[in-house]
C-alpha cells in the first residue's frame, strides 16, 4: 500500500523566520503523486506553490526556514535526510524546472557544460560520455542540430530553446519525479504548447510523476490528470481534472473556473473576478481563509476553520457549505435544461 505513491506530502508546513516574526507560507499541505501521473498545483500568485515545490527539493535556505510534516519520496522522508543525502536526490531522482527560462541558465557556461555537469555528478560519467548524453537529451527535447547547440551560450539561443535546455538538464538523469514550476509562463503561446508536449512525451517515456505548477487552467486541462487547488498556503480542493472542471466544490475553485475567458462567450460581458484581494500571510483570517472574499460565507465560516474533507471518489474540499452549494448547482443546471 505504502509504495503505491511516488511522493506523499503529508501535512507539510514551511515557516520562514522574518524580521517581523515567523511567516507560515505553507500550512498543512497534503497531496500525493503517483508514477506516470501529472498533478496540477494551481492557485493565485503568492499562495505558496513555489514554496511547496522548493520545500520538496529542500532548496530553501534552511537557516531561515523550518519544516514540519512529512515528505515521503519512495518511502523515505526527505525532511529527515542529511544535506549530503539530499545532494544525491536533487537533479537525480527529483528534478525541477523553473518559471523563468531566460534567467535560469548560467550565462558564463555553455549549454553542453551545464547539462553535462548534472550527468557527471550523478552518473559518474566521463566528460566525453556526458557530452554525448547531453546531445541525446537535447535531441529528445526537439532541439535542432544539438551537436552545435551544446557549444553555445545561453544568450545565443531563444527563450523556448532555453526552456528545452532546462528540460533536457532536468531529465538527463531520468528522475522519477519532475517538478515544473510554471514552465511556460514566460513563453509565447505556440512555444508553450510545444514545451508542454515535450514534457508530456518524456513523462510517458520515463514513467515519471510530474507536479505541474501553474495558474493557467488551460494548461491544467491540457496536461494534468489530477489537480490540487491552493489558497493562502493551504489545499482547498483536490480532484480529478474532469471532476474539477465539471463539478468544482469550493467557491474559490468555481471562481477560478469562471474567470477563464471563453472563446464563444459574449464579448461585452465582463470576465468574472473573485472579490477582494488575497490577505497577506501576516494577517490570516481566523475561520476559513477564503471567507472574507466568499459570497456564500456564513457566521461559521468566519469563525471556524474547515478541514479538508474527502467527499467522493478522489475529491476533497475544505469548505463548510459545499453540500448546500452542490444542491444549488444541481438546481441551476436543471433550470438551464428546462
Amino acid at each position: 500500500m505504502g509504495n503505491q505513491y511516488l511522493l506523499e506530502v503529508n501535512e507539510l508546513k514551511t515557516v520562514f523566520s522574518s524580521e517581523s516574526g515567523p511567516v507560515t507560507a505553507v500550512d498543512g499541505v497534503t497531496f500525493n503523486v503517483k508514477h506516470g501521473e501529472v498533478l496540477g498545483l494551481v492557485g493565485e500568485s503568492g499562495c505558496g506553490k513555489s514554496v511547496t515545490a522548493e520545500s520538496i527539493m529542500r532548496l530553501l535556505n534552511e537557516k531561515h526556514t523550518k519544516y514540519d510534516g512529512e515528505i515521503n519520496f519512495n518511502g523515505r522522508n526527505l525532511l529527515s535526510l542529511t544535506n549530503e543525502e539530499m545532494l544525491g536526490i536533487r537533479g537525480n531522482k527529483i528534478s525541477m524546472i523553473f518559471q523563468d527560462a531566460m534567467t535560469s541558465l548560467n550565462p558564463v557556461y555553455t549549454i553542453g557544460d551545464q547539462i553535462a555537469e548534472t550527468i557527471m555528478i550523478h552518473q559518474k560519467m566521463k566528460k566525453k560520455e556526458a557530452y554525448n548524453k547531453a546531445i541525446d537529451m537535447l535531441k529528445l527535447t526537439g532541439i535542432p542540430s544539438p551537436e552545435k547547440r551544446i557549444h553555445e551560450y545561453p544568450h545565443e539561443i531563444s527563450g523556448g530553446m532555453r526552456q528545452r535546455v532546462m528540460i533536457a538538464m532536468a531529465l538527463s538523469c531520468k528522475p522519477s519525479l519532475l517538478i515544473a514550476d510554471e514552465p511556460t509562463t514566460a513563453l509565447d503561446v505556440t512555444i508553450q504548447a510545444q514545451i508542454l508536449d515535450v514534457i508530456n512525451e518524456l513523462k510517458e517515456e520515463l514513467n515519471m510523476g510530474v507536479i505541474m505548477i501553474t495558474h493557467d487552467l488551460g494548461v491544467v486541462a491540457e496536461v494534468c490528470t489530477r489537480v490540487v487547488v491552493m489558497y493562502l498556503g493551504q489545499v482547498i480542493e483536490e480532484a480529478d481534472v474532469d471532476t474539477l472542471f465539471s463539478s468544482p466544490l469550493h467557491p474559490y475553485t468555481k471562481g477560478l473556473l469562471k474567470s477563464i475567458p471563453k472563446i464563444d462567450g459574449d464579448r461585452n460581458k465582463k470576465l468574472h473576478t473573485i472579490n477582494g484581494v488575497v490577505p497577506s500571510l501576516n494577517n490570516i483570517p481566523n475561520g476559513c481563509r477564503f471567507a472574507p472574499r466568499c459570497t456564500y460565507a456564513t457566521e461559521e465560516c468566519l469563525n471556524e476553520a474547515p478541514l479538508l474533507q474527502v467527499i467522493k471518489d478522489n475529491q476533497k474540499v475544505r469548505c463548510w457549505n459545499y453540500r448546500q452549494l452542490l444542491k444549488e448547482e444541481v438546481q441551476n443546471n436543471a433550470t438551464t435544461i428546462i
Partner: protein, 316 residues
C-alpha cells in the same frame, strides 16, 4: 580579436598625446627654474643664463615642446638634467621597489579581500558579516599615510618586528626584500582591499539570489561548487572593473607610501624630480605611467572576454 586589439592600441595614441601636452605645459608653468635649482643659491645670473641656454631652456616653449615630442617619437624620453642619465634608465633603476610594492599590495589585497567578500556574502546578516564590513569601512576611510604611520609605530617602534623604513632589493634575499615591503604594502593595499571586499560581497549577494544559482542547487551540486564555480565567476565580472579602477589609485598611493617609508621607487623619483624641476624625468615618468595604465586597462578589458562569454569578441 586581433583587429580589436590593434584598434585599442591605436586609440591609446591620442590619449598619450593629450597626457604629454598636459604634463609638459603644467610643469613648465610651475614657478621655479631648473638651472637656478641645480646651481644653488650662490650662482650668479650669468652662470644661470649659460646653463639655461645649454639646456635649451631659453628657446620658446613651443619649440621646446616640439623638440621633446620629436625625441619621444624616436623613442628617446630625454635625459635627466640633474642625474645626468637618460630618463628611461632612471625609470628602470627605480621601478623595482614600486613594482614589488604594487604587486604585493594588489596581490595581498585581492587574496584577502575576495575570500572575505565571499564569506561575508554567504554569512550575510550574521556577526561575521558585520565584523568584516566594519573593518572594511575603517579600511576605506583611513588615509593611507595615517595608516602607514600607525603601522610604523606599532610594528616598527613598539613591537620592533619589522623595519620602520628603508629598502633592500630582491638580490639580498626574498625574505629580506619582503620584510621591508610588508608595512608599505599593507598601508597601500588597505583601501584597495576594503573596496574589493565590499564589491565582492555586494556582487556575490546579487548573484546568489539569481535563478541560475537556484538551478545549480537544484542539480544537486555541492555548496562549494555552487559558490565558486557558478556564482563566483559571475560575481567576478564587476570585481574586474574595480581592479582596473583601483590600479590608478595604487599608483598615486605609491607616491605617498614610498615617501613615508623612504622606498627608492618611482614615487620617490617623481617627488625628487619635482623639487629639482627635473622636467625630462617628470614628463617621461608620467608618460610611462600613463602608458602602463592604459595597457593594464586593455588587458582587463580582454580579460572580460575570457570571463564573460557575452562580451566575447568575434566568436565563430
Amino acid at each position: 580579436m586581433k583587429a580589436y586589439i590593434i584598434k585599442r592600441v591605436l586609440s591609446m595614441i591620442p590619449v598619450l598625446f593629450l597626457v604629454a601636452i598636459f604634463v609638459f605645459f603644467l610643469i613648465h608653468f610651475i614657478p621655479g627654474d631648473p638651472a637656478s635649482v641645480m646651481l644653488g643659491p650662490d650662482a650668479t645670473p650669468e652662470e644661470i643664463d649659460n646653463l639655461r641656454s645649454e639646456l635649451g631652456l631659453n628657446l620658446p616653449i613651443y619649440q621646446q615642446f616640439f623638440q621633446w615630442t620629436a625625441n619621444i617619437l624616436q623613442g628617446n624620453l630625454g635625459t635627466s638634467l640633474y642625474m645626468n642619465m637618460p630618463v628611461l634608465e632612471a625609470f628602470i633603476s627605480h621601478i623595482g621597489p614600486t613594482l614589488s610594492l604594487a604587486l604585493l599590495a594588489q596581490g595581498v589585497s585581492v587574496l584577502i579581500a575576495i575570500p572575505i567578500g565571499v564569506l561575508a556574502a554567504r554569512k550575510r546578516g550574521t556577526s561575521v558579516d558585520s565584523t568584516f564590513m566594519l573593518i572594511a569601512m575603517l579600511g576605506m576611510s583611513i588615509p593611507s599615510f595615517l595608516l602607514a604611520l600607525i603601522l610604523m609605530l606599532v610594528f616598527g617602534v613598539k613591537l620592533q618586528i619589522l623595519p620602520v623604513a628603508g629598502y633592500e632589493s630582491l638580490s639580498s634575499g626574498i625574505l629580506n626584500h619582503l620584510k621591508y615591503l610588508i608595512l608599505p604594502a599593507l598601508s597601500l593595499g588597505a583601501i584597495q582591499a576594503a573596496v574589493i571586499t565590499r564589491m565582492t560581497r555586494t556582487s556575490m549577494i546579487d548573484i546568489l539570489s539569481t535563478n541560475y544559482i537556484k538551478t545549480a542547487r537544484a542539480k544537486g551540486l555541492r555548496e562549494r561548487v555552487v559558490i565558486y564555480k557558478h556564482a563566483f565567476r559571475n560575481a567576478f565580472i564587476p570585481i574586474l572593473t574595480i581592479l582596473g579602477e583601483t590600479f590608478g589609485s595604487l599608483i598615486t598611493g605609491a607616491v605617498v607610501t614610498e615617501t613615508v617609508f623612504n622606498l627608492p621607487g618611482i614615487g620617490q623619483l617623481v617627488m625628487n624630480a619635482i623639487t629639482r624641476r627635473d622636467y625630462a624625468v617628470i614628463q617621461g615618468t608620467i608618460l610611462i605611467i600613463a602608458l602602463t595604465y592604459l595597457t593594464l586597462n586593455l588587458l582587463i578589458d580582454l580579460l572580460y572576454g575570457v570571463v564573460d562569454p557575452r562580451v566575447r569578441l568575434n566568436r565563430k
